[in-house]
């Protein structure tokens, strides 16, 4: 990408976003303005599509609400999106989960990624020995 455009985009890009992949169940907290008041609303669903790059990155999140499938596209780096949390990591073999649109009920289940919970647990409570060992391992690899 062009250097000048990168300089313009870099302050707009959020750096504290979690790792998000297609198939993950996420909760997106959107700021909503209602009659001069601002409040945050959560929207939970499965990521069925990731598109765009840089500041233009978007997520399409699908959920079935009262029997009707709802898909919402979120501009990830928009200031209107307060935060995104990953609820569950899914194991999928497609980059676009359009097949979920034709399925209902039990068929829409997505397998959980093996080891995802353990990873999440490690991230929540980082174990010092593991990270220290990782740091020791990396410098020789660089040399």
């Amino acid at each position: 990408m062009n250097q000048i455009i990168q300089e313009i985009e870099s302050p707009l890009i959020k750096k504290n976003l979690p790792q998000m992949d297609v198939g993950d169940t996420v909760k997106v907290f959107v700021k909503i303005k209602e009659g001069g008041k601002e409040r945050t609303q959560g929207y939970e669903g499965v990521i069925i599509k990731r598109a765009g790059a840089g500041v233009n990155q978007t997520l399409t999140v699908r959920r079935v609400f009262q029997g009707i499938g709802i898909e919402r596209v979120f501009l990830v780096h928009s200031p209107r999106i307060e935060k995104i949390t990953v609820q569950r990591r899914g194991h999928v073999r497609r980059s676009k989960l359009y097949y979920l649109r034709e399925r209902t009920g039990k068929a829409t289940r997505i397998k959980e990624r093996i080891g995802a919970r353990r990873e999440a647990g490690a991230a929540a409570a980082p174990e010092p020995p593991v990270t220290a060992a990782a740091q020791q391992e990396t410098p020789p690899a660089e040399q």
Binding site: I4, I5, I8
Partner: protein, 213 residues
């Protein structure tokens, strides 16, 4: 009758406004914009300011172009563009134009540049005319149909749309809002798209509208 700036299209991206909405912007790199000369009524019959756009290497100019600039002790610059102004007395050769005095954030500007050339194109692409069936034995695919009536009037009317060169012409996009002006870095962000490819030269002038302050 307005002073403008010379710039180069960098590309497009998006930024967010105060309400958090995404605004599509074109990034324009402004040139050095140094006054290279003035046209006066006595000498030239009209009044204008000649401005040099970008500083370039000396070998990029030919001898007459370089000689003209050397005579006025100016660096090699390209392109030279004239802006028609009423009074040229306040412009001195060698002084750069100040971007912030010409364009301001929130104001509207007209951006002029050369459009991307598409070459010789038929009427289907160029003029959005219809085409015939491509299969089922059809022999009429993308060629032109009738270009007018017969014996009366016995000629083809002027302005009938026909195949020809498409693109590679001067295009002006009017009333683009200035989203951001970074005079220090020489960057101008305008809302929407501008003519031409990335790296193409653009001339930016304040719009003459009732909405401009």
């Amino acid at each position: 009758m307005t002073l403008g700036l010379i710039g180069k299209k960098v590309g497009m991206t998006q930024v967010f406004d105060q309400e958090g909405l995404a605004v599509p912007v074109t990034v324009i790199q402004l040139g050095a914009n140094i006054v290279t000369g003035t046209m006066t009524r006595e000498n030239n019959g009209y009044t204008a300011v000649q401005v040099g756009g970008f500083k370039v290497k000396e070998r990029k100019l030919n001898k007459p172009e370089l000689g003209r600039l050397k005579k006025r002790e100016l660096p090699a610059m390209k392109p030279l563009h004239e802006f028609r102004v009423d009074d040229v007395s306040s412009f001195n050769v060698g002084e750069p134009l100040k971007a912030e005095t010409i364009v301001a954030e929130g104001a509207l500007v007209d951006v002029q540049g050369g459009s991307i050339g598409k070459g010789f194109q038929g009427t289907v692409k160029k003029n959005h005319m219809g085409r015939g069936p491509m299969s089922h034995g059809s022999k009429f695919h993308r060629s032109m149909g009738s270009i007018g009536p017969g014996t009366t009037p016995g000629r083809v009317f002027k302005g009938v749309m026909m195949p020809g060169q498409m693109g590679n012409e001067t295009v002006t996009v009017r009333h683009l809002k200035v989203v951001r002006l970074d005079a220090e870095k020489g960057l101008l962000l305008v809302k929407g798209s501008t003519p031409g490819a990335e790296g193409g030269l653009l001339v930016i002038k304040p719009s003459r509208t009732k909405w401009n302050p």
